[in-house]
């Protein structure tokens, strides 16, 4: 392909594009770099909807805790952060924050912040926190490109980068403002997998070192690292069984496992789990198995004699299995190796949490996934995934085996828990990219072939896009080229629909900050409900600094971050009994609740109420969970007391316990005098759609301190006992 390079005296001659003829390789490189650059920018800006519509703020609940800790880190330094004991949450127990969080996200954001300050860009830490997730999403697309290149070829890599840039499954947890562990963790996950696959392919220690570092970053970022520490040994096992083992695998896995394990133990939250917890024993088992396996292989090679080797094999294998079995048995029986914790056990047995641990079952993102969620989050990738699997099986190599295993295991877990669709997204995007890339490649090469002499060899015809046989035009199918063009148009149409769908989903569903609500008014204008922040700021400015606030655990992080007050329980949910105490207080009559609140030194109670606005995620709708969790620890709270014929009601037909419990009284205090909807009686609850049963509520031990403008958040002050100040 002869072409001239750009002429050196370009400035002198008239500038024309003809003189800029580049060689094919340079053209290709230019195309690739520009595509990647565009994808990088696209991934970033697709996540900015909420910043443009509302403002640059942190969303939801968990990110507020991460923001507060990052703020603390940048203000006080790493040593204070690492050894922080927080007395402002879980009063009176406190929480060892330094030892119970995953520091990766905070340290990353703090590093970016310090780098920007070093370059004299004095931004506020909140801006950095808000934009960390989109930034790392862009980085993930680059890693996806390299991974795709490793598995298949550069075309697949480019498609993978483009797909993952806008895939809703990933966007849902990495929009601007969603400052949560997953923002960084998915990048770390994909990076670790890519480096490990590279290490297995090349057998070089440097790549294995890199993957150990990637694993360390993943452990520091998210509790989902357990997926890596189980998938990688499973992959090694599959390779050993299918006979694809080689010395490269030995080098890669051993280096990654030992160094990764040592590095992971630096995170205090993880601690010694790598040698003590049942979830990590798989990795150790495979490590020991590998030593035995390769030792036997080496001995076999040395001996060159089958008979002697058989004896040796028998002795070693029996002794190894015996020793391993005894060790595992003793460890598990004596309790030294702890069994699988509830969170991960419920992934293997989805019914476990519902029966035994209601607090895990109550989290909405732990519910099993519906098909509609899959379709919503993946769109065309759902049917491109099996097609990609087919291609992977056609060209089996170490890398494709890995991606197939990653895809299948992560899809299984995505089916068990909605939240884990995020972990499956990179695998689904990569495999679908293989399908798209291979199909497009076959079709375009069909378009480019010249007419050949009719051969007896057959192609499968244009109808099957899965054909990868040598492409020659079969004279008996004269419309092959037209068919190929039609199919290509079809593929591009599908991809364009995917892009439209992703943009629509991001805009409509995944860009809401949760803390600010919006609705359409009667004239189509947009009404903003900023009640949460209004209430937190009221708390911050109108209560004594040592005031303690009791609320349901959902709002704990936000109250400490924005209201700057001590809370009783928060989203960390590490102490079930404490939460059950709060649940018991909320579901008891006012007198009993007052005793509990006095024992906890509570000064203010905060409830969320959606009856005026029709907001359905309020505390009355969450009330049954409070009863269940409270009843799980205190048998005096019985769920049937609050139900009528198994039905949860708040109108006249509700059970008397329900009509007089603390939560009911606090939510509906003075509500009976309010007209909420034209034509309905007073006290009409718009969220439940009924008129409430008990309109005449009198509070004896609490008094109303503040109700926000749309009645969404209501704050009450606990009165001190009579005859006291």
């Amino acid at each position: 392909m002869g072409a001239k390079k750009a002429s050196p005296d370009l400035l002198n001659s008239s500038f024309s594009f003809k003189s800029l003829k580049l060689k094919t390789k340079q053209q290709e490189l230019l195309l690739r770099v520009s595509i990647l650059g565009l994808v990088y920018v696209l991934a970033f800006i697709a996540r900015l909807f909420s910043v443009l519509r509302y403002e640059s703020m942190i969303h939801e609940f968990d990110p507020y805790f991460n923001y507060r800790t990052t703020l603390y880190l940048t203000e006080k330094g790493f040593y204070e952060f690492w050894n922080w004991f927080d007395s402002e949450s879980w009063y009176p127990l406190g929480r060892i924050i330094g030892g119970t969080l995953y520091p990766g996200l905070m340290v990353t954001a703090a590093l970016i912040y310090w780098t920007l300050r070093f370059l004299r860009f004095f931004v506020h830490i909140r801006e950095v926190c808000v934009l960390t997730a989109p930034f790392f999403a862009s980085n993930t697309t680059i890693v996806a490109y390299f991974f795709g290149k490793e598995i298949w070829d550069t075309g697949a890599g480019l498609v993978a980068a483009a797909l993952i840039a806008i895939c809703p499954g990933y966007i849902s947890r990495s929009v601007a403002g969603s400052y949560d562990n997953e923002a960084v963790a998915i990048f770390a996950l994909l990076l670790t997998f890519y480096l490990f696959v590279k290490a297995v392919k090349t057998g070089s220690l440097s790549w294995a070192l890199g993957s150990a570092f990637g694993y360390f970053y993943m452990v520091s970022a998210w509790g989902g690292y357990v997926f890596i520490i189980n998938l990688v040994p499973l992959y090694v096992l599959v390779l050993l069984i299918t006979g694809r083992y080689s010395m490269r695998l030995y080098v890669a896995y051993n280096c990654m496992y030992i160094l990764g394990m040592l590095l992971a133990m630096q995170i205090r939250f993880v601690g010694f789990q790598h040698v003590q917890s049942g979830e990590h024993m798989g990795a150790m088992g495979v490590f020991l198995l590998m030593q035995v396996f390769y030792f036997l292989d080496w001995v076999k090679y040395q001996l060159n004699d089958t008979k002697l080797f058989q004896t040796f094999l028998r002795i070693t294998v029996t002794s190894a299995i015996l020793v391993g079995g005894i060790a595992l048995g003793v460890g598990t029986a004596s309790g030294y190796i702890s069994p699988w914790t509830g969170r991960f056990y419920s992934l293997l047995d989805p019914t476990y949490a519902k029966d035994h641990i209601p607090i895990i079952a109550s989290v909405s993102e732990h519910q099993p996934t519906a098909w509609s969620s899959f379709m919503f989050d993946y769109h065309i990738l759902l049917f491109l995934f099996p097609a990609g699997l087919y291609f992977c099986f056609k060209r089996l190599s170490d890398a494709t085996i890995f991606i197939v295993m990653y895809g299948l295991t992560s899809l299984y877990f995505a089916g068990v828990m909605v939240r884990l669709i995020l972990v499956a997204t990179p695998a689904v995007c990569l495999i679908s990219a293989i399908a798209v890339s291979a199909t497009v490649k076959n079709l375009t090469s069909l378009l480019r072939t010249k007419q050949k002499v009719p051969q007896t060899g057959s192609t499968k015809g244009v109808g099957s896009s899965k054909s990868s046989s040598k492409v020659t035009l079969d004279q008996s199918q004269p419309f092959q080229k037209n068919g190929a063009i039609a199919l290509l148009v079809g593929v591009f149409y599908l991809l364009s629909r995917y892009a439209i769908h992703c943009t629509w989903v991001t805009s409509e569903a995944y860009s809401s900050p949760s803390i600010v609500l919006a609705a359409r008014g009667a004239h189509g204008n947009r009404i903003i409900f900023d009640d949460y922040r209004e209430a937190y700021y009221w708390l911050r400015q109108n209560t004594p600094t040592d005031a303690k606030v009791m609320s349901w655990w959902d709002y704990g992080y936000q109250i400490t971050a924005m209201g700057n007050r001590t809370v009783i329980v928060d989203n960390n949910t590490w102490n079930n009994t404490h939460i059950a105490t709060v649940g018991r207080a909320m579901s008891s009559y006012e007198d009993e609740a007052y005793d509990i609140m006095r024992s906890l030194d509570v000064n203010y109670v905060l409830v969320v109420f959606g009856g005026v606005t029709g907001y359905s995620s309020d505390d009355i709708n969450k009330f049954l969970w409070m009863v269940r969790i409270g009843g799980g620890v205190y048998p005096v709270i019985k769920e049937p007391d609050y139900l009528v014929n198994g039905e949860f009601r708040v109108d006249k037909g509700a059970s008397p316990k329900m009509l007089n419990c603390l939560m009911y009284k606090l939510c509906y205090y003075r509500f009976g005098e309010l007209v909420t909807e034209y034509g309905k009686p007073t006290g009409y609850d718009r969220a439940r759609g009924v008129e409430i049963g008990n309109k005449d509520i009198k509070l004896e031990h609490l008094e109303e301190a503040y109700t926000t403008s749309n009645w969404i958040v209501r704050i009450y002050r606990v009165k001190p006992p009579t005859n006291r100040l």
Binding site: F78, S204, S206, M247, L308
Partner: protein, 131 residues
Amino acid sequence: MVKSTSKDAQDLFRSLHSAYSATPTNLKIIDMYVVFAVFTALIQVAYMALVGSFPFNSFLSGVLSCVGTAVLAVCLRIQVNKENKEFKGLGFAGEFDSRQYALVLLGLVHRDCELGMGINWSLFPTANTIN
């Protein structure tokens, strides 16, 4: 029966011995290092069994770094062994450098684990007591 197994064992031993003495010297040196590292790890485990496992992180760091050096030495042996066709042209020096980085990392992490502080503080000069 016993006689045949003991004869088998002797044959086994002898043929292993003869096959092993054919390996080149630099590989034998690496092998001795591996044996030494594993032996050190075993001594530490025995010591822990005698004395008790407090402080656990020192024990872990000691054992795991021994195991780590053993494993890395085996990796080096694999890559240097001329009979392994997949590692052509790497030579002693190239992989030795990678191994050095790995060992440095191992040493740092070992020190960190041993002191139980998480993220080694001696790199950042601060006046705080080591706990």
